[in-house]
């Protein structure tokens, strides 16, 4: 069971949150201009990373705000939480910090 540190409310049980899947997927600027294959890639194809993974969460039973997290999908440990719209933290640095 995860304990997630909501940036607005503090640490809360995972049951208060909903999962938003992979982060940093940009909707094509001009949907009419992309091919079917590009649209399929945007809509369906997933990184599904085994290891450090950038993902979205919403504190649906609390402040109802969205944020991004970097989580290790094998140990389930959360290594960073950061606002949506900001760049992904450097994964190598996070990995080194976590190993220490």
């Amino acid at each position: 069971m995860l304990l997630i540190d909501c940036p607005h409310c503090g640490p809360r049980d995972v049951t208060e949150f909903h999962y938003g899947g992979e982060a940093h997927i940009a909707r094509p600027e001009d949907p009419d201009a992309v091919t079917d294959a590009q649209w399929a890639d945007y809509l369906f194809m997933k990184k599904n990373t085994r290891g450090l993974f950038a993902e979205r969460w919403v504190h649906s039973q609390g402040c109802r705000r969205w944020f991004n997290a970097i989580r290790d999908t094998v140990s389930y440990r959360i290594l960073a939480i950061y606002p949506m719209g900001t760049p992904m933290p450097d994964l190598d640095t996070l990995r080194q910090e976590a190993d220490r």
Partner: protein
């Protein structure tokens, strides 16, 4: 390979069952094969068996990073049925069902198929309409299906709580009498033994760490036991399908999630069938040992850790207790998790890929045990002929580009 029979059991009883031979060899990997199967679960082993049996391709290796059947094959709740909604699914799952019905004889190995009937409960008007539609669709496809009233549900399964006062009352159910359960380990072992007897090398403790390519052709794999070459490589790694896909530079429409199951302490036979409920989300059967086998739901997040959250189990237990008050004081003995690979349309991939000679069989999500024989049958055809079998042609990677999805969220809505 010595055949199993009443006589061989009697003969071996004389030597206290100490002289049974090994079921399969444990060979060193050879430098090259005609085909490599990555993943020694039921689907991979069935693929190897049907490659040899149906297509005469016997120079085959199955590479398994742990022990065979140690993935989802040995972790699932073993429900077998074929009552899916759409033609494409009904055809492939029903093909698997027919193979199940003759599997023990074909493999000369008891897979303990028990066709005790599978009941899918409906708890609201939407459920009722959707379920009845599925019963009619099943019948049109030659799949046995019945619609049961709450009274008929009670007659089939007397311990089921059908009182109208439930928070989510039982308003009826679909029933497939040919459905049931099978012994998961036996399926892996039976296919392994039969494939080995036809010349297939089953190589355990051999993890694939890279896919070798020459331009857009596959040429072999890198493993923890060295490079092994082959012009054809089939990936059948369930929860790790995306990981293997990445090794070949492919992006796949798959997300991996933890899925848990539990067993109770053993009790006398009380539960004659398999009961599943999408709406309150629980499914339960009773094993020959007397334990209740209970399936939970997936954790919503991506996970590869083979364990899930306790909150999921808590939800399951609430649903179980409401439907079966008789279980309220049972102790649970064990719980465990597997990693299931889900596709957006809740249907699998059995497909060629943009890389020549590389094939993928995955995305079976929470419900692929039931399809093990059919999946292996079709994947072996796809690999041997370099072309899909008509039964798996709809389950291609291209369907995500064309939009021709096979939406089975109704039939596969409960994780099983």
């Amino acid at each position: 390979m010595p055949r199993f029979s009443i006589f061989s059991v009697a003969r071996n009883a004389l030597s206290h069952h100490e002289n049974w031979p090994r079921l399969w060899r444990s060979p060193e990997p050879r430098p090259a094969y005609d085909a490599i199967i990555v993943g020694g679960g039921g689907h991979g082993l069935a693929t190897a068996y049907y490659l040899a049996r149906n297509h005469g391709v016997t120079n085959v290796a199955v590479l398994e990073k742990g022990w065979i059947g140690g993935g989802n094959t040995g972790r699932n709740t073993t429900i077998v049925r074929s009552n899916y909604l759409w033609d494409a699914s009904a055809h492939i799952y029903e093909h698997a069902m027919k193979l199940w019905e003759g599997l023990a004889e074909d493999l000369n190995y008891n897979v303990m198929l028990s066709q005790r009937g599978v009941m899918n409960l409906a708890h609201n008007l939407g459920d009722v309409r959707e379920s009845r539609r599925r019963v009619f669709a099943n019948r049109l496809n030659g799949v046995d299906a019945e619609w049961l009233t709450p009274e008929q549900c009670k007659a089939e399964c007397p311990i089921l709580n059908t009182s109208p006062g439930l928070r989510y009352p039982v308003m009826g159910a679909t029933f497939q009498r040919r459905g049931g359960v099978a012994r998961h380990d036996a399926v892996a072992w039976g296919y392994a033994r039969a494939a080995d007897a036809r010349g297939v090398d089953i190589i355990q403790n051999c993890e694939v760490t890279g896919i070798l390519r020459d331009g857009d052709r596959v040429t072999g794999v890198e493993t923890t036991r060295g490079v092994i070459r082959a012009p054809k490589v089939g990936i059948v790694t369930a929860g790790n399908t995306s990981v293997l896909g990445q090794m070949a530079g492919l992006r796949l429409p798959i997300e991996s999630h933890p899925l848990q199951a539990l067993v109770s302490e053993p009790i006398k036979p009380v539960h004659p069938i398999v009961v599943m409920s999408n709406a309150v989300h629980v499914y339960v059967s009773q094993s020959d040992k007397g334990e209740l086998v209970i399936g939970a739901g997936v954790d919503g997040f991506v996970g590869y850790g083979q364990r899930g959250g306790f909150s999921i189990i808590e939800g399951q237990m609430g649903a179980l207790k409401e439907l079966f008050p008789i279980f309220s004081r049972l102790k649970l003995m064990r719980s465990w998790g597997g990693i299931v690979d889900t596709c957006p349309d809740a249907s699998p991939l059995i497909t060629k890929t943009p890389v020549q000679g590389l094939y993928i069989n995955g995305g079976w999500g929470t419900g692929g045990f039931k399809s093990t024989p059919g999946s292996g049958w079709c994947f072996a055809h796809t690999i041997a002929q370099d072309e899909p079998h008509p039964l798996n042609a709809p389950f291609s990677l291209e369907r995500f580009v064309t939009g021709d999805l096979v939406d089975e969220h109704g039939a596969a809505g409960v994780a099983h």
